[in-house]
């Protein structure tokens, strides 16, 4: 086994575009880095900022949020809500000392298996270059536990 650092990346993706795009990458037998784990939500608009923080807190080295292209949202414009929320999320992770390159927002359609592959590979290398995040050691701060948010 090589001891090279293998980044761990959580992908929060919408059901209609990006999840289907990842399916297309599969049916087309494209190959990409095995460093991502997908968590499917119906719309990227469902991505609560706490999900991203939880992933980093758990130990993720990178988080990718991915949804339909603006205008193509299955739910009309849920993705635009994500887009609007994203800058605040960027500021937030910066406050936690997390490098901006560890988080990405991408629009990947159901027809863009190749884009999915490209983004995953690129981000894997980007995060690999940054090295492990090691959230717990970096900050003594803890994110509000999910349990306080159980209503959702």
């Amino acid at each position: 086994m090589s001891h090279e650092f293998e980044p761990r990346i959580v992908v929060l993706c919408c059901n209609w575009c990006t999840y289907a795009g990842a399916d297309l990458a599969g049916t087309s037998r494209m190959k990409y880095a095995p460093n991502v784990r997908l968590v499917r939500v119906m719309c990227s608009g469902r991505v609560d900022p706490s999900f991203v923080l939880r992933a980093f807190q758990d130990g993720a080295d990178g988080v990718l949020i991915a949804g339909c292209h603006p205008g193509d949202c299955h739910y009309i414009n849920g993705n635009l809500k994500t887009l609007r929320r994203y800058p605040a999320l960027e500021t937030l992770i910066a406050q936690f000392g997390i490098e901006p390159d560890r988080m990405r927002l991408e629009w990947i359609s159901a027809a863009e298996g190749d884009v999915f592959v490209h983004v995953v590979n690129e981000m894997t290398e980007q995060v690999r270059a940054l090295g492990p995040l090691d959230w717990k050691r970096r900050t003594a701060m803890t994110v509000p536990a999910a349990e306080s948010h159980t209503a959702g």
Binding site: K31, G45, S50, A55, D58, G59, H74, Y75, K81, G152
Partner: protein, 653 residues
């Protein structure tokens, strides 16, 4: 009570098991908390595979089921049904995608197996927290909207109407008929296109179950499967349909001529017009954009000559609303803009035509009454037909346009028959795949049509020899001969590529459809559901999905109709249970959710001062759930606890 989870790992033949060590995945799962049963099997989706799930639910008293196999977009419905048959609420089922997202995209077996274990663990984590939901059953409005009146839309509309269901057929031009109405003959049978199409057009007009709206466009679509609300703009016709007798006097008298869209601009029509003589409906409309009266307030000649007094200058656009249960999109195809194909001389040399222009030239109702002539009126002695102009070409359209080889053969036959000219086909591959197509190719070989295996590189009028002087010259390599040929001809026909309609992007958005990389509308499954879209209740017919010839278009239209009809006949449909729910105790009444909901499903209750959700309008996107500052909205089946549990389980941190 602790959940009792069963995990079933599919081999999918060697699709999964060839890369992922499925036994190791099942063994890993067996060791996790709450997993009381874990196994693997060759094909989980097979009858025996589903049987295993059902048996295990009973035998091991399972309260949750996880199947690790393909994409949930593929088989989630299959296994939900199997669970339900064994008495388990189908929403207590969760699928782990270890094929599309794992075995098919990775080569390193160790890494793929570890990833598969992670994926299954993530699904088990969610399954542990799943809650039973009841799918809501709603009734289906027994009416279908068909968008586009080409042969696909006509077929779909007639099939549905004949089954006894009401149809609204919307067509944006003056008449139905589409591209097929423009054609003279059809391949390979050479029967007259209009002769076989016009009876169907008339049936549409006369059918008691079809409400035909030409000169109309769909403006907005709301609702969901079984219950769509559609707004249709009926453009002002300025001719009262009830009064007009289709006598056609106005068409003669109108002094304003504009290029006819139907005739590819090779002829003119009037400002008051019908698209072509056999148009359905036969009653004309006034095209406001070009009409002299609308431009400068003077003329009204049509009104003067209209005996039944059918002209209505005060007519206005009307927006009508229709409730329908299903929508069939049959908006057809366009053609690549030939002006971008400079090397083949279009726009520079008058005797370089597109295929559709040649169709009109050859048509009895076309500019020459069906005589095949050059622009100067002379009969061509030689004609070149250039295949794959813009098709199979990364500079333009990468796909094969699928109809060109055959219409090129048809053209070659018609040219031979009418003019005895020498006909050259410049082709890369002859693709004659349909019924009777190869036989037609053989017939053309017999007729002495010349086939040059090489793509035409360019067309020029620069002669290098006396023989070339005064002609168009096609330069191409005969790859079979191994020689570059310069072939002088009098006319060049470009088999220019079929393309998505120019407004395909807007139409896709209107109906909530995706588009494939080629720009055509995306089907739900390329093999098994080429007539469905990702949006339930919205179906596809004809060449808006991909280039098609007439037989395939008609078959596609009929398939879309029968799929829509099975929804209509059932009368009810289960709609998403995974919608949002407001926890009134936690709601602060801030109304932020109202702003973010794309469907207006949330309202503010004046008395209780909290948000209220309309469950049949909500589609479950979860945007409000993520936005609510009080955490007062739950996204059923995708709640925060479930998603966070998945994130926690995504890796062995």
């Amino acid at each position: 009570m602790e959940p009792r989870i069963g995990v079933f790992v599919c081999h999918c033949g060697t699709n999964i098991a060839g890369v992922v060590d499925v036994r190791r995945v099942a063994e890993a799962a067996a060791a996790w908390p709450d997993v009381v049963y874990a196994t693997e099997y060759k094909f989980m989706c097979s009858d025996p595979g589903q049987g295993m799930v059902k048996d295990a639910i009973v035998k091991h008293n399972l309260t949750r089921v996880v199947v690790a196999a393909c994409s949930p977009r593929m088989h989630e419905p299959t296994f939900r049904k199997a669970c339900a048959m064994a008495g388990l609420n189908p929403y207590l089922f969760e699928m782990a995608n270890i094929r599309e997202h794992c075995s098919w995209v990775h080569e390193d077996k160790e890494a793929a197996t570890l990833k598969a274990i992670d994926i299954v663990r993530t699904s088990v984590a969610k399954a542990r927290l799943l809650e039973p939901l009841q799918a809501r059953v709603v009734s289906v409005t027994p009416k279908v909207l068909v968008v586009g009146g080409g042969v696909a839309g006509i077929q779909a509309a007639l099939d549905i109407a004949n089954a006894g269901t009401k149809v609204v057929l919307v067509e944006r031009s003056q008449s139905i008929g589409g591209h097929m109405a423009q054609l003279d003959k059809t391949f390979p049978t050479l029967d007259c296109s209009a002769c076989i199409l016009t009876p169907k057009m008339v049936q549409v007009a006369q059918h008691p179950n079809i409400d035909l709206m030409t000169w109309s466009e769909v403006e907005s679509v709301e609702g969901f499967v079984g219950n769509f609300k559609v707004k249709i703009r009926r453009k002002a016709r300025y001719v009262d349909e009830a009064t007009c007798t289709s006598c056609g006097v106005c068409l003669e008298k109108c002094p304003k001529k504009v290029p006819s869209e139907f005739d590819e601009g090779m002829m003119t029509r009037k400002s008051i017009f019908r698209s072509f003589p056999q148009a359905v409906p036969g009653k004309p409309v006034i095209d406001k954009e070009s009409c002299t009266y609308f431009k400068n307030g003077k003329c009204k000649i049509c009104e003067i000559f209209c005996e039944p007094k059918a002209i209505r200058w005060d007519d206005e656009d009307r927006v009508v609303e229709e409730s329908v249960g299903a929508i069939i999109v049959a908006t057809g195809m366009g053609l690549i803009d030939p002006h971008g194909l400079g090397q083949w001389g279009y726009g520079r040399f008058p005797n370089v035509l597109t295929g559709l222009e040649f169709e009109r030239l050859n048509n009895a109702t076309g500019p020459t009454g069906g005589r095949i002539t050059c622009k100067d009126g002379s009969t061509p002695k030689s004609v070149a037909i250039l295949h794959c102009v813009g098709s199979r070409d990364r500079n333009h359209k990468e796909y094969c346009s699928r109809v060109c080889c055959m219409y090129a053969l048809k053209f070659a036959h018609l040219i031979k028959e009418k003019t005895h000219a020498t006909v050259y086909n410049f082709y890369i591959d002859m693709r004659c795949f349909g019924k009777g197509y190869e036989e037609f190719y053989n017939r053309l070989l017999h007729e002495g049509v010349k086939f040059i295996r090489g793509k035409a590189a360019y067309v020029t009028n620069q002669a290098l020899t006396d023989e070339e002087t005064g002609h168009l010259v096609v330069s191409a390599e005969s790859t079979t001969l191994g020689q570059v040929l310069r072939v002088p001809v009098d006319m060049v026909i470009l088999a220019s590529a079929v393309a998505p309609q120019k407004d395909a992007e807007a139409v896709a958005r209107l109906f909530g459809m995706g588009r494939s990389p080629d720009g055509f509308f995306m089907e739900k499954h390329p093999k098994l559901e080429p007539f469905s879209t990702a949006t339930d209740g919205v179906y596809l017919a004809g060449s808006c999905q991909s280039p098609k010839d007439i037989p395939d278009t008609v078959a596609h239209g009929a398939a879309a109709a029968s799929t829509a009809m099975s929804l209509i006949s059932r009368g009810t449909v289960e709609v998403e249970a995974a919608v949002a729910e407001v926890l009134t105790d936690s709601c602060s009444g801030c109304k932020i959710c109202q702003d973010v909901c794309p469907y207006g499903a949330l309202s503010f209750h004046a008395d209780t001062r909290v948000a209220e959700i309309n469950g049949s309008v909500c589609k479950g996107c979860g945007t409000c759930v993520a936005t609510c500052p009080s955490g007062a909205i739950v996204g059923r089946h995708f709640n925060d606890r479930q998603i966070l549990a998945q994130i926690d389980a995504a890796f062995l941190w």
